[in-house]
Symmetry: C2
Subunit: 210 residues, 2 copies
């Protein structure tokens, strides 16, 4: 099947959105917790978490003007804080349900049924039984002018994680925790480990770790 730029431009809008979004591949499901100015909690699903650097530890998130989590963007800019939460594959339905357009006076924590947790001194709500909970500080935003999207950049302030899934060399084994993965707008997955390899060198073939 050969598809050109002209084919893509001619597709019906929902077909195109589903195709181009899912074609971008597998990505981490990140549930972003925020408070608004009145202290009302919000929880929204993102599949655009980007690792930007380890020192300082910075992650990005893409916020598209045409998608639901605009409340998230507003809350992040207004409070300067947010949480990143990863859940298990059995939580796929609840995670997906956070993408529904609920009214502003409703917290997605309540309606989809994730218990909300406060972790002092961070000003963002966390999912109590998340596998990974990260407190983020909003650092800056970048306007991606070519299509009006925004990259939200934050620094990692605090991480809560079960030490059983942190390997000796620092690698976080999210597969062992059965972390939820997504693709496109509505498909959810779990993972199977194929292999870990040593640092690649020109004169040797990858050696499997562990």
């Amino acid at each position: 099947m050969n598809i050109t730029e002209e084919t893509i431009a001619g597709w019906e809008q929902n077909y195109r959105r589903s195709f181009i979004n899912s074609l971008a591949g597998f990505r981490q499901v990140a549930l972003i917790g925020t408070y608004n100015k009145s202290g009302m909690s919000n929880l929204a699903i993102f599949n655009s978490l980007v690792h930007l650097g380890a020192n300082p530890a910075l992650y990005g998130l893409i916020s598209r003007p045409d998608t639901v989590p605009r409340d998230t963007y507003t809350n992040i800019v207004e409070t300067g804080e947010y949480s990143i939460n990863y859940v298990r594959s059995i939580d796929a339905d609840r995670a997906h349900q956070t993408s529904a357009r609920y009214e502003h006076n409703v917290s997605e924590f309540d309606v989809v049924g994730f218990d909300e947790q406060k972790i002092a001194p961070y000003n963002a709500p966390f999912i109590a039984d998340a596998i990974v909970k990260i407190a983020m500080k909003f650092e800056t935003k970048i306007d991606i002018k070519i299509n009006g999207t925004i990259m939200i950049i934050g620094s990692l302030q605090y991480i809560h994680i079960d030490k059983k899934i942190v390997r000796e060399d620092g690698m976080v084994d999210l597969c062992a925790a059965d972390t939820l993965i997504s693709s496109g707008l509505d498909a959810y997955y779990s993972s199977n480990l194929i292999a870990r390899y040593g640092y690649a060198k020109p004169d040797t073939w990858p050696i499997k770790k562990k």
Copy 2:
């Protein structure tokens, strides 16, 4: 296990890099094919493919100054084109091996053993038996000043894909093709479908598709 910003800053560099990179979760393995000005091919592994929008269809890639695929960045800017290739989970070792620092007079296609394919009129090399082959046109770059990284933004010009993995609504079923996923610097995975859901609405619970 509770980790603060100070804990992270105090970690040994390799441990920190491994932890923060793998903590960012699962992501698509994208093998980026380019030519340099002399027509020499290059193939490099990226795990930072970002969906930016469907109309026009735009994907981003993060290029970090301290990582191997700098040749890729140079080639993209100089030729204005690149390819994105997805491979199967059984190709994990070859995909990982493209991250070795080969000399400039060596093509990663040759040394790791992926057959190189030209697809006219696109000026980038493709992996002949890739599950997904995308020809990209370089559109713009964004300097992420906070840590000196760069986002390379390109538009999708051409896609080659087996129509058997494209669902009726446009969703590309990469799981059915056993597409390779990664996490962190050296861990590779395949996927299991948990569920696809309908568009989420406030008054209904997610309904499984198919």
